[in-house]
């Protein structure tokens, strides 16, 4: 078991966004979190990664309680995330964007004397190759296309060599081809790098294509959970979310 969430509650003022969520992620699992807009998917990610502090409940990662520790420390324990809105370093080059994460992962925060260009070059190149951005390594982050920016984000998250990766709508705003290639990439990486992945997604083809298990959130609570087959057949899920589409 890599991640365990017990009775997690969180509210913005009077608005309850996460209501008694229980979730267990087994090692090696690819889990999709789906649900209508406002179901609390991103909030759940923000709670797990330490961006918000839960009102009550407990989050355990690799057997350690991470409920109340600051986000940068959660990250250092091997839990990385990407964001729904593109979240990169616009003025840094593609290479630097990823190298920052690699350097941080190796605890180089306080290193003020080694020339950064010469260290952890190989690790950074490896990730650039994995996410298919090696030919763009000198380009500034903000000059990339949208699809490449999303791939770069994935690369930044990989820089921390995470064991668990939270991807918040990794294909949002992508064209069909970009979506397919990105999700193939995610799937490959999972096997290659021994990753556990939890992702939110609105594109049901993507969800049913790669997820091994699915959790359906609705108004902050878990409506259903199970294999893609079970979720697809769940009448309640079909009524509130999937509708007639599937």
């Amino acid at each position: 078991m890599i991640l365990e969430i017990q009775n997690l509650n969180f509210a913005f003022g009077g608005l309850i966004v996460t209501n008694g969520v229980d979730l267990v992620l087994k090692k090696g699992e690819i889990r999709a979190i789906i649900g209508p807009n406002g179901a609390g998917k991103t909030t759940l990610f923000n709670l797990i990664s330490g961006y918000y502090k839960p009102d009550s409940g407990r989050i355990t990662f690799k057997g350690e309680d991470i409920t109340n520790i600051p986000p940068h420390q959660i990250c250092r324990r091997g839990l990385a995330r990407s964001f729904q809105v593109v979240n990169i370093y616009p003025r840094l080059s593609v290479f630097e964007n990823i190298q920052v994460a690699v350097l941080s992962h190796h605890g180089k925060q306080a290193d003020i004397f080694s020339p950064a260009l010469k260290i952890f070059k190989e690790d950074t190149f490896q990730i650039l190759e994995d996410v298919g951005l090696i030919h763009l390594l000198k380009v500034r982050g903000d000059n990339l296309s949208h699809g490449d920016k999303k791939r770069l984000e994935l690369g930044i998250a990989l820089g921390n060599e995470p064991e668990l990766l939270l991807l918040d709508e990794p294909t949002a705003g992508m064209s069909l081809e970009e979506t397919v290639s990105t999700m193939t990439l995610v799937k490959d990486l999972t096997e290659k790098r021994d990753l556990n992945i939890m992702f939110t997604e609105h594109d049901m083809t993507v969800v049913f294509g790669i997820a091994e298990s699915i959790t359906v959130l609705h108004q902050g609570t878990i409506l259903a959970e199970g294999t893609p087959e079970e979720v697809r057949k769940n009448e309640e899920v079909v009524r509130v979310y999937l509708g007639e589409a599937i």
Binding site: S49, H72, C75, Y89, S104, Q109, F113, I156, G159
Partner: protein, 317 residues
């Protein structure tokens, strides 16, 4: 031109520049020796300032405080404790750095504009102490009559001392900005949220950058004290803290050598323009206006982005 030569052209230019700087006392009239000394000190202040601004994305409007603390610490140590000059000179930037570390602790946790506002507040606080506390700081009269050695009173000797200290400091800062710490600092500037989620302790990183910046500003302050043979409350004023910001904007704050070029341009212009008109600030104001509107990345930033090539291309077509 071979590839190797063009790759190192920047380095050759720097060596040439350094060579010229060494020649100045032997060839230039005294006036230019003074001007060069002032430019060197200002360069250090601007480069130190730009650790915060260009690299850290922290707009400090109160950096005069750290420059001033370095200056006052140096003068007070000499005058009140009778410390040897070398000791006072080493201690002064440390005092600046400690102030930077303490003040930085309160500053780095707030957003961009609150940060800028608070730096003014802290700057004013330090200024008031220097301006009003006659018993310690001599108030508006400042501190003069420092027991400086005759070696350092020689303008040529002081020029060379300044050259060595400034060049060493600038190289050190450049190295730090190219280190993992430096890259992470720029990543925080670009996107603090993302930096947090790759495991960087953003407030602590910023605080350390602010401390470094204060430390090197303090060296510049102590050098100025020797140059003017005293300290005055103007060193601590908010106006003083704006000068390196202007130099950084002028030269380009996202290029390491931007503030260096900006400082040299600013002081040279100041000297040149004041010969013809009293309204030097008017010229500087107009210059800044043009700069911000048309060259927001500064002179070097503009050249580096090669936008001028596009322009040339369009013009020819």
């Amino acid at each position: 031109m071979t590839d190797k030569f063009s790759a190192n052209v920047g380095l050759y230019l720097l060596i040439l520049l350094l060579f010229l700087l060494i020649l100045i006392p032997f060839i230039a009239p005294k006036f230019y020796l003074d001007l060069s000394t002032q430019i060197l000190i200002f360069i250090l202040f601007s480069v130190a300032y730009n650790i915060c601004m260009g690299n850290g994305g922290m707009l400090s409007l109160g950096h005069g405080a750290f420059y001033g603390i370095g200056a006052y610490a140096f003068a007070l140590l000499l005058k009140k404790t009778g410390a040897p000059m070398t000791v006072a000179f080493i201690a002064a930037p440390v005092v600046s750095g400690v102030f930077g570390m303490i003040i930085g602790f309160f500053l780095v946790r707030v957003g961009f504009w609150y940060f800028a506002t608070l730096t003014i507040a802290f700057g004013q606080l330090i200024w008031v102490i220097c301006y009003k506390w006659y018993g310690l700081t001599g108030g508006s009269n400042g501190i003069i009559g420092l027991p400086l050695s005759s070696f350092i009173m020689s303008k040529t000797n002081f020029y060379f001392l300044t050259l060595v200290i400034v060049v060493t400091s600038v190289i050190t800062i450049k190295r730090i900005m190219n280190s993992p710490f430096g890259i992470m600092l720029r990543s925080i500037r670009d996107n603090a949220e993302r930096a947090t989620f790759v495991g960087i302790n953003v407030p602590r990183h910023r605080q350390f950058a602010f401390t470094l910046s204060s430390f090197f500003s303090g060296i510049a302050g102590a050098l100025t004290t020797v140059f003017h043979r005293g300290v005055f409350p103007e060193y601590v004023a908010v106006e003083k803290g704006i000068e390196p910001l202007l130099a950084s904007l002028l030269g380009g704050m996202h290029v390491f050598f931007g503030p260096i070029l900006g400082s040299a341009l600013m002081l040279s212009l100041d000297n040149y323009v004041t010969r013809y008109t009293k309204y030097w600030q008017l010229v500087m104001g107009a210059l800044l206006l043009i700069l911000v509107l048309f060259f927001p990345d500064g002179v070097l930033g503009y050249l580096k982005d090669k936008k001028w090539k596009d322009m040339l291309h369009r013009w020819r077509a």
